[in-house]
Symmetry: C2
Subunit: 259 residues, 2 copies
């Protein structure tokens, strides 16, 4: 297995960093290759701007068009090209981050905004009567797997089906489905640690054991069965899910999970 | 009306910037006061790190605790204090941004991560048998209103109830409910422009007219009726919505909208 870990926490001694370190040692100990993008240590530039697209950037700037041209001509900045290369090298991508305001920290969002360029992660493939681009289950990153490892401050009940924050699977849907499944990644069920601000030493030992177990069984873990866009479930080009495919009573994001 | 517009697009000649400019001129023309935080123009620092909390930052860094201490002692960085002051000045806050990968651009997420500190936007109020902090409808920003003005590249059907991207109200829920309702803001229904990459000159005239209309009726627009956390709908401290409060068949994020 070739695993890329994308890590987003400012403190090397944090709980998140400990989970990242444990992933590296566990996977390497099992004979796998591991590369780490430690975004804070790399001083990752978080904001998309004209400097990303070099002297040929259009004025006014058109982010999608400019990023696609820079991708096509191999003129994206070196930091972005390096991350795209790592993604193509990997067969498994782990994202380690704290849930800040119910989504990823800005530095990680900025990694997505800059690395997932047009013609690499979107704007790929043909549009015709049966296909609407290579996306949602197809695309540049097809054949690879992704896993979110997330720490949250609140209690598990706050993120349950009736919890005030909303169900954790729904909170993570824009990331798991919208960012990862979109360019073709298969998404494994997330590893979520609740109440991470209040963990005791004993709690950490339990979490570490559970995390090691997840890491050592990545190869046999079934992905979330998100529907593929171009395999008959959706009308083209409205991309509405056809009627009658879902279990009775299912609505919202859950429609896009089959079975 | 005192309106703060938080704007996040790198190109001053973009469609997003035109909507921001139109908001300024329309509101000022109607006699309202307007302030703008143009995050790209301000070269807003997007990433939370120890530098945000000065020489007294703890080591290892504890983001919540350090941000609360810096808030309490008035030692947050000047850029963050200025944004908190603008939020307290405003009675209405408009966020103008393109939906990138189904959420806000990194620079705007970084505004949230850095400005919404502990003791300002979270970690406010008492916890007891009937209250779980001042949040979700109560808090520092209570009595103020917020509005998202968002452009998306895809077609409206892709964001409809059965659309492949997920319903737009669910995609925006982590922002509208999790970021804005949490510290007390009332959230108005969003202004969403679909297919923004393909707008013609005539389309823009229609959008501008609709946007002006929304701006001139902000004061009379009913907010999304998100439930208040401490008003009897939720069990404390599990924060699960009590049984039987929702219309039959409603699930997921929709549970937290009343009526």
């Amino acid at each position: 297995m070739k695993t890329l870990i994308v890590h987003a926490h400012p403190e090397p001694k944090s709980f998140n960093s400990a989970l990242k370190d444990l992933a590296v040692s566990t996977l390497e100990g099992a004979g796998h290759e591991v590369r780490v993008s430690d975004l804070y240590a790399m001083r990752w530039k978080a904001t998309v701007d004209a400097a990303d697209y070099g002297p040929a950037a259009s004025s006014p700037l058109r982010v999608a068009r400019d990023s696609g041209r820079a991708f096509d001509t191999g003129t994206l900045t070196e930091d972005v090209r390096a991350e795209q290369e790592k993604l193509l090298w990997a067969d498994t991508v782990i994202f380690q981050f704290p849930l800040w305001w119910f989504t990823m920290p800005a530095i990680l969002k900025g990694w997505v905004d800059r690395v997932f360029t047009y013609h690499f992660a979107y704007g790929v493939g043909e549009h015709n009567e049966t296909r609407y681009g290579d996306r949602y289950g197809e695309g540049t990153l097809a054949g690879r797997r992704a896993l979110l490892s997330v720490t949250v401050g609140g209690a598990e009940s706050h993120y349950s089906a009736r919890g005030v924050n909303g169900p954790v699977d729904d909170l993570l849907f824009p990331i798991q489905h919208g960012i990862l499944h979109y360019p073709g990644l298969e998404v494994l069920p997330p590893f979520v640690v609740y109440g991470s601000d209040r963990l005791t030493h004993d709690d950490f030992a339990d979490v570490a054991k559970a995390w090691e177990q997840r890491l050592l069984t990545l190869g046999s873990t079934e992905p979330v069965p998100y529907r593929r866009q171009n395999h008959g479930d959706y009308e083209i080009p409205s991309l509405r899910l056809k009627d009658g495919l879902e279990p009775v009573g299912r609505t919202g994001f859950g429609l896009h999970v089959s079975g």
